[in-house]
């Protein structure tokens, strides 16, 4: 189960509202490589992972991603506080505002709402862990791009933290694949699906 702890993983303190930036960063809330997808991907892949160490790693990283979802939500919320009539007209934000006001809704920056089509659960551990390597890279690049687009130091402080977590997670998933592979048939690691075949 999950128990809520009343603190963020990393402090989010954004002094200045900036709806334009919020409309970009929302992609890491509900976009194709965002934190909602990340948490659902790992927490869903756990069930068919064949070894307890791998189930544990997916549980731990999936839980951390829920904490990141909360942090990205906090960024969006703080960037859209107390907006003026002029600020809600900001191109790129007005289209969001008309449907969601200053609520936090899981969508890509393009306006495409969160879709489970952007994650995968294949039910085969090599396939799923390889998907996870790619997912961490794609999230890392999204944060790189946010750093290119944002000049707000309060936001970038948090984005740099989140970006670095993707690199660490990539490393751990890579190690998990090695851990898995060592237990498979060394002549043919694809001889069967260890999540399904007995």
């Amino acid at each position: 189960m999950f128990v809520y702890e009343k603190k963020l993983q990393y402090p989010v303190k954004i002094a200045n509202p900036n709806p334009k930036l919020a409309s970009i960063i929302i992609s890491q809330y509900g976009g194709p490589d965002g934190e909602l997808g990340a948490s659902l991907r790992y927490l869903s892949q756990r069930y068919s992972m064949p070894f307890p160490e791998l189930q544990g790693l997916l549980t731990d990283i999936g839980s951390e991603e829920l904490g990141h979802l909360e942090m990205v939500g906090a960024i969006i919320h703080q960037l859209t506080r107390k907006l003026s009539d002029e600020q809600i007209q900001t191109p790129g934000f007005a289209q969001y505002f008309v449907d969601h006001t200053a609520g936090v809704y899981p969508t890509a920056a393009s306006g495409f709402p969160f879709s489970a089509a952007s994650i995968a659960v294949k039910g085969d551990p090599i396939a799923d862990l390889t998907e996870d390597l790619a997912a961490e890279q794609k999230a890392r690049v999204t944060y790189d791009n946010i750093l290119r687009l944002s000049d707000d130091p309060d936001v970038n402080d948090v984005i740099k933290f989140l970006r670095e977590r993707e690199i660490v997670h990539f490393q751990r998933f890579g190690e998990a694949i090695q851990n898995l592979r060592e237990r498979l048939n060394q002549k043919n690691v694809y001889a069967m699906n260890p999540a399904f075949d007995r």
Binding site: K6, A74, D157, Y190
Partner: protein
């Protein structure tokens, strides 16, 4: 214990099945930052600290009880992921245990002064205080 490599380098198997993805294994007993530096860097491990376009959080967060808790919790989570794939690293296990002890003490001290972090602790003062704000996502200049 294996030969010490540069912090940013890991171990690959000498011979390994074809058509597989390989990420080098992080070496055992890796260098670590302290918890407060690790928090702002986003990793406890200098070898994995790979910033983009030289953008680095250089300053640690100001010493506040919340930042202290966040740094300790971060160190535990980061070492936890490391131990998930390196359960035999006794030094990292000891470090994990030490941070967990510090966190336990810091957590209790924080709750005494600032109120519950967890719903189960919400009536310790004799009153139910769980829903008293601010909640963590709200903007707070000070804390």
């Amino acid at each position: 214990m294996q030969e010490q490599l540069r912090p940013g380098c890991g171990i690959l198997p000498a011979a390994a099945p074809l058509a597989n993805p390989y990420v080098p294994f992080q070496q055992y007993d890796p260098n670590t930052y302290g918890a407060k530096t690790g928090l702002v860097r986003g990793t406890l491990f200098p070898g994995l600290d790979l910033p983009f376009l030289g953008m680095v959080n250089r300053d640690e967060k100001p010493d506040t009880p919340m930042h202290e808790l966040q740094a300790l919790h971060f160190a535990i989570a980061e070492l936890g992921l490391y131990l998930d794939t390196h359960p035999e690293d006794t030094q990292a296990t000891e470090l994990f245990r030490e941070y967990a002890e510090l966190y336990k003490t810091g957590y209790a001290r924080y709750e005494q002064t600032y109120g519950p972090l967890c719903q189960k602790d919400a009536a310790q003062s004799g009153r139910y205080t769980w829903t008293q704000g601010p909640w963590p996502w709200e903007y707070k200049q000070e804390d």
